[in-house]
C-alpha cells in the first residue's frame, strides 16, 4: 500500500490546482466533464426551458418522427413530446444514480472505516458478510430486493445502492487498515483524541480520495443499472419515468417507430460515457501510480538509430569489441544519454570487469550489446558491437535475437525475479536450448539436467521439476548460469550476478563462474559495483562513471596505481577485515570536496 501514497486532503492550494490542471490536461476527461456539465445543466434547467408538459398525451399526433414541427424529437405512443420527456427523464435518472451512489458510499464507507479501524474479530465478521453479498451475481441480488420491496423507482434505487455497498466497504476498509497504525494516527491517539475524533479527523481525510475514486467509477454503473431495472418495468412506474422506463416502453414500437426507444438509449449512453471518461480522469489524477506513467510498456527491442553507420565488418577484431557505443533513453522527443561513447574489447577466455556505481551506465552498456535495453525505451545512437568482427547492431532483428543466448548469453542480478515464476527450472533451461537448437523436448530436458549438474546442483534430475520459489537464492543463480550455458556461448555477460546473494553464496557463485571460464574458454564480461569481486576474478577492468569509461587496464595495475579519483574511491570502498573505524578515516578525504555527491 505504501506505493499508493495518497495525497492528503490538507494539500496546499497549489496541489489542488495542479490536480485540476492534470485533469484538464487529460483531453478525454475534459470532454467527459464538458459533456456531463452540459447534460446536467439542461436537466437542471428543465423547469424553465420552453418545453411542453412531458405527460400530456395527444393521441392524434402519436409516434411522430423526429424533426416534426413542434416536436423536435417526435412523439411517443401516447403522443407525448419525446424531447421534453427526455430532459425530464434525464433529470430523474441522474438524481436516482447520484442518490444511489451517495447511499452506497455513505453506508459502505462507514462499514469499511469501522471494520478497518477496529480490526480483529469485528472486521472479520463484517468482511465475511460483505464477501457473502459479493458472492451473488450483482444484478440478481438487486432483483431479489426489488421482488421483496415491490417494483418502483425508490425501491430500485435502494436495491442498486445495497448491492454496491460491498465495493465501497471493501475498498475503504483496505485503505483504512493500511493507515490504522501509521505514525500520525498513533500520534493522535497518544495526544488523547477519542476514537471517533481520530476516525473523522485523521483517517477519513486520507481515505477520502479512495471514496471519491470509487464513487466516480461506480456512479455511471449505477445509473446504467437503475435504468436497466426501469427498462424491465421494475423501476420507475407511470406516470414517473426515467430514461430506462422510456426505453422500455418504446420497445413495443421498436419496429414501427424505432426513434422512441433509440433516443433515450443514446441519452443513457452519452450520460454514462461522459461520467466514465471523467471518472477515469479523476482516478488517474488521484492515483499517483497511474499518473507517473509507471505502467509504460517497455519496448521489445532497443531502437537502433545510428546517424553514422559503422563498417559492418572489422578485420582482426577481438572476440567482442565494442566501439564508441552510445545509448540513451527516449522520453518524449528527447533522448537522455546514458552511455556516452564507450569502447572496450574482450578476448577469448578473458574476464573483463565493468565497474561503477548504480546509474553509471554499466548495465545499460551490457544490455545494449544485444539490444535488450527495454525500459524506459532505449535508443542506440552511435557505435558498433563487433562479435568476431561482425557488427551485431547492423544485423536484422531476427539475427540479433538469434545471437541472444546463442553466442552471447546473460546472467542477471536477482535470480528470483529473473526466472519465470510459473515454469519449472528444468523447463526454463530446456527452453533456452530449444530456442537455438532443433531437438525434441525429452532430449532438451535431459540436457537441462546435465547443465544443472555442471553448475553444481545436487539431485538435478529431481530439482529440475522445482519452481524458482522452491529453490534457494544460490541455487536459483546456478539455474541462471545453467541457462546461460545452454548453447555453449562464447561470451557470458554477467550483470551483478552475486549482488542479491549473501556473502558465502557469492563466493561460491564466483568460483563457479571462474571454473566454467577456465574449462570452457569462455569470455566473461562481469558487471559489478564491487572492486572486491573484480580483484578476485577479472583480468582487466574498465571503470565507468556517468556513462563513460574513465579508466581501463589490467586489474592488478589499476588496483596498485589507480589514475582516476573515482577509481580510488571505489577501491577504498572495499572494506578490509579488521580495519574498523580507521576505514572511515581512510575513505573520508576521498569523498570531501568535489564529487562528494557521489
Amino acid at each position: 500500500m505504501s506505493e499508493t501514497a495518497l495525497p492528503s486532503a490538507a494539500a496546499p492550494q497549489s496541489g489542488r490546482l495542479s490536480s485540476w490542471q492534470l485533469l484538464m490536461a487529460n483531453r478525454l476527461a475534459a470532454v467527459g466533464l464538458f459533456a456531463l456539465s452540459a447534460i446536467l445543466l439542461i436537466a437542471i434547467l428543465a423547469p424553465i426551458l420552453p418545453l411542453p408538459d412531458p405527460d400530456i398525451t395527444d393521441q392524434p399526433n402519436r409516434l411522430l418522427p423526429p424533426l416534426s414541427p413542434g416536436h423536435l424529437l417526435g412523439t411517443d405512443h401516447l403522443g407525448r413530446d419525446i424531447l421534453s420527456r427526455l430532459i425530464w427523464g434525464t433529470q430523474v435518472s441522474i438524481l436516482v444514480g447520484i442518490s444511489a451512489t451517495a447511499i452506497a458510499a455513505l453506508i459502505g464507507s462507514l462499514i469499511g472505516l469501522s471494520a478497518g479501524y477496529v480490526g480483529g474479530k469485528a472486521d472479520n465478521i463484517m468482511m465475511r458478510l460483505i464477501d457473502m453479498l459479493m458472492a451473488f451475481p450483482y444484478i440478481l441480488l438487486a432483483l431479489a430486493i426489488v421482488a421483496v420491496l415491490g417494483p418502483g423507482l425508490l425501491n430500485a434505487l435502494y436495491a442498486i445502492a445495497v448491492v454496491n455497498i460491498p465495493f465501497f466497504a471493501r475498498n475503504i476498509r483496505g485503505v483504512t487498515l493500511s493507515i490504522r497504525h501509521s505514525e500520525f494516527v498513533d500520534a493522535a491517539r497518544l495526544s488523547g483524541k477519542g476514537h471517533l475524533a481520530i476516525l473523522f479527523t485523521e483517517v477519513l481525510p486520507n481515505v477520502l480520495p479512495v471514496i471519491v475514486i470509487t464513487m466516480s467509477t461506480t456512479v455511471g454503473w449505477m445509473i446504467l443499472e437503475t435504468a436497466g431495472l426501469s427498462f424491465l418495468g421494475l423501476g420507475a412506474q407511470p406516470p414517473t419515468s426515467d430514461l430506462g422506463s422510456m426505453l422500455g416502453q418504446g420497445r413495443a414500437q421498436l419496429f414501427t417507430a424505432p426513434h422512441v426507444s433509440m433516443v433515450p438509449g443514446i441519452m443513457i449512453f452519452l450520460l454514462v460515457m461522459s461520467i466514465n471518461l471523467l471518472g477515469d480522469g479523476i482516478r488517474d489524477v488521484l492515483d499517483p501510480r497511474l499518473r507517473s506513467g509507471a505502467l509504460n510498456r517497455p519496448m521489445a527491442v532497443t531502437t537502433i538509430d545510428r546517424a553514422v553507420k559503422p563498417e559492418p565488418r572489422k578485420a582482426n577484431a577481438a572476440l567482442l569489441e565494442v566501439a564508441n557505443l552510445e545509448t540513451g533513453f527516449r522520453s518524449g522527443n528527447r533522448v537522455n544519454a546514458a552511455v556516452k561513447g564507450v569502447s572496450f574489447s574482450l578476448n577469448k577466455g578473458e574476464c573483463l570487469g565493468l565497474i561503477g556505481e548504480s546509474g553509471s551506465g554499466k548495465s545499460v552498456t551490457a544490455l545494449s550489446l544485444l539490444g535488450l535495453v527495454a525500459s524506459p525505451p532505449g535508443v542506440i545512437s552511435n557505435g558498433a558491437v563487433y562479435l568476431d568482427g561482425e557488427d551485431v547492431l547492423s544485423q536484422p532483428d531476427s539475427q540479433i535475437v538469434a545471437q541472444r543466448g546463442g553466442r552471447v548469453s546473460y546472467v542477471f542480478q536477482d535470480p528470483l525475479t529473473t526466472l519465470h515464476p510459473l515454469f519449472s527450472v528444468g523447463d526454463q533451461i530446456a527452453e533456452a536450448i530449444t530456442a537455438h537448437q532443433r531437438m525434441d523436448g525429452k532430449t532438451a530436458r535431459a540436457q537441462a539436467v546435465e547443465l544443472m549438474e555442471t553448475v553444481g546442483i545436487r539431485d538435478a534430475q529431481q530439482r529440475a521439476s522445482a519452481y524458482p520459489h522452491e529453490l534457494s537464492g544460490g541455487q536459483r543463480q546456478r539455474i541462471g548460469i545453467a541457462m546461460a550455458l545452454a548453447n555453449d556461448p562464447d561470451v557470458i555477460i554477467a550483470d551483478e550476478p552475486t549482488t542479491a546473494l549473501d556473502v558465502t553464496v557469492q563466493a561460491r557463485i564466483l568460483e563457479l563462474l571462474q571454473k566454467l571460464r577456465r574449462e570452457r574458454g569462455l569470455a566473461l564480461l562481469l558487471i559489478t559495483h564491487d572492486f572486491g569481486v573484480v580483484a578476485q576474478i577479472c583480468d582487466r577492468v574498465a571503470v565507468m562513471k556517468d556513462g563513460e569509461i574513465v579508466e581501463q587496464g589490467e586489474t592488478s595495475d589499476v588496483l596498485r596505481a589507480p589514475q582516476h579519483a573515482y577509481t580510488k574511491r571505489l577501491i577504498a570502498c572495499v572494506p578490509e577485515l579488521g580495519v574498523g573505524r580507521a576505514f572511515l578515516d581512510k575513505v573520508r578525504p576521498l569523498f570531501s570536496g568535489k564529487g562528494a555527491e557521489a
Binding site: L143, A144, G233, L247, P258, P298, S409, H420
Partner: protein, 315 residues
C-alpha cells in the same frame, strides 16, 4: 492438486450456506402478509391459514429456515402459485437455456477480451491501442439492453439475416444451426460489457508483466517476440486475469436478465423478471439461489484454474 480442489470445495460450502440464509432472510423480510398478497384482499381466513401452513409461515424463523433447507436438499423448492408447477421444474427447464447463452457469452468475452487486451498492451499508445481503448470505453458505457434493440433493428428488421427473438424457430427449427442463429445476437450483446472489462484488465496485467525481469530473461534467451508475449508474459498475466473472468461470470449471469428479456430467450433471467413483476416469490427465491450457486461454482473453477497456473498458490 486434488487436495487443493477438495479444500477449495469445502470453503465453498459455507458460502453457499450463507447465500441461502441471505436469500431466505430477504424473502422473510417481505412487508405485509404473503398469503394476502397471493390471495388478494378478499381471502377467507381459512385460506390464509392454509397458505400460511403451506408456506410454513406459522413457525419460528430458524425453524422455517431449516425446514426450507431440508426441502431444498430434497429438490423441493416449493411451488410457483402463478405457474402452478414446482419451482424446481421451472428453474431447471430455464437453466439449460441460460447456461447455453451465458456459457457462450463467457467464452466470447474471454477470447475477445484477452485478444484485445494483449494487442492493446503490446502496441501501447499505438493506433490499435487507441482503437481498442475507445471500443472498450463504448462497450462499458453502453446499456446492453439498448444495444440488443439496435442489433434487432439492424440484423433482424433491416438486413433480415438473424431471427429477432426466441431460442428456436417456431416452425421447422430445433436443430443446432437454428439454435446458433438464434444465439448469435443475444450472446454477442451479453458479452460486450464483459469483453470491455476483461480487455481493460488484460491490458493492465500485460503491461505490468512486460516490465518484469523474467520477460527480459526470456528475450535474453533468444526467444522470439511471439513466444515472449504469448508464453511467458501471458502465462504470468493470466494468473491475475482468471479471477476477473470468474467475476465476469456473475455479470454475464446478471446481464442475462436484460438480454433474455430483450431477445425473449427462455432462460432463468427472463423467468426472474416475470417472477418479480408477478411477485412470484418462491420462484424468485429458487431462481436466485440456483444462479448464485452457479456463480459460486464458476468462481471455484476459476480459483482452481488459477492454482493450476500458479504453483505458488497451491501451498
Amino acid at each position: 492438486m486434488a487436495s487443493y480442489i477438495i479444500k477449495r470445495l469445502l470453503t465453498a460450502i459455507p458460502v453457499i450456506i450463507g447465500l441461502s440464509i441471505i436469500v431466505f432472510l430477504i424473502m422473510a423480510m417481505i412487508p405485509g402478509d404473503p398469503a394476502l398478497a397471493l390471495l388478494g384482499s378478499y381471502a377467507t381466513p381459512e385460506n390464509v391459514a392454509r397458505i400460511n401452513r403451506d408456506l410454513g409461515l406459522d413457525r419460528s424463523l430458524p425453524e422455517q429456515y431449516f425446514i426450507w433447507v431440508a426441502n431444498l436438499v430434497q429438490g423441493d423448492f416449493g411451488r410457483s402459485y402463478i405457474l402452478n408447477r414446482p419451482v424446481i421444474d421451472e428453474v431447471l427447464e430455464r437453466l439449460s437455456a441460460t447456461l447455453i447463452l451465458a456459457g457462450v457469452s463467457l467464452v466470447l468475452c474471454s477470447v475477445f477480451g484477452l485478444i484485445a487486451g494483449i494487442v492493446s498492451a503490446v502496441r501501447q499508445f499505438g493506433w490499435t491501442d487507441r482503437i481498442v481503448t475507445f471500443f472498450v470505453l463504448i462497450g462499458i458505457s453502453m446499456p446492453a439492453f439498448w444495444l440488443g434493440l439496435i442489433f434487432i433493428l439492424v440484423f433482424a428488421v433491416q438486413l433480415r439475416v438473424l431471427p429477432a427473438s426466441g431460442m428456436y424457430a417456431v416452425y421447422g427449427g430445433g436443430d443446432l444451426p437454428d439454435l446458433l442463429r438464434h444465439l448469435i445476437m443475444p450472446a454477442v450483446t451479453l458479452a460486450i460489457v464483459a469483453t470491455g472489462v476483461i480487455a481493460r484488465l488484460t491490458r493492465a496485467a500485460m503491461l505490468e508483466v512486460l516490465r518484469q525481469d523474467f520477460v527480459r530473461t526470456a528475450r535474453a534467451k533468444g526467444l522470439n517476440e511471439r513466444t515472449v508475449i504469448f508464453k511467458h508474459a501471458l502465462r504470468a498475466a493470466l494468473v491475475s486475469i482468471i479471477p476477473v473472468i470468474g467475476v465476469q461470470a456473475g455479470f454475464v449471469l446478471g446481464g442475462a436478465v436484460y438480454i433474455e428479456t430483450v431477445f425473449q430467450w427462455p432462460g432463468l433471467g427472463a423467468m426472474l423478471v416475470q417472477a418479480v413483476s408477478t411477485r412470484d416469490l418462491l420462484l424468485v427465491q429458487g431462481g436466485v439461489l440456483v444462479a448464485a450457486t452457479l456463480y459460486v461454482l464458476v468462481n471455484l473453477a476459476a480459483d482452481v484454474a488459477q492454482a493450476m497456473l500458479d504453483p505458488r498458490l497451491k501451498s
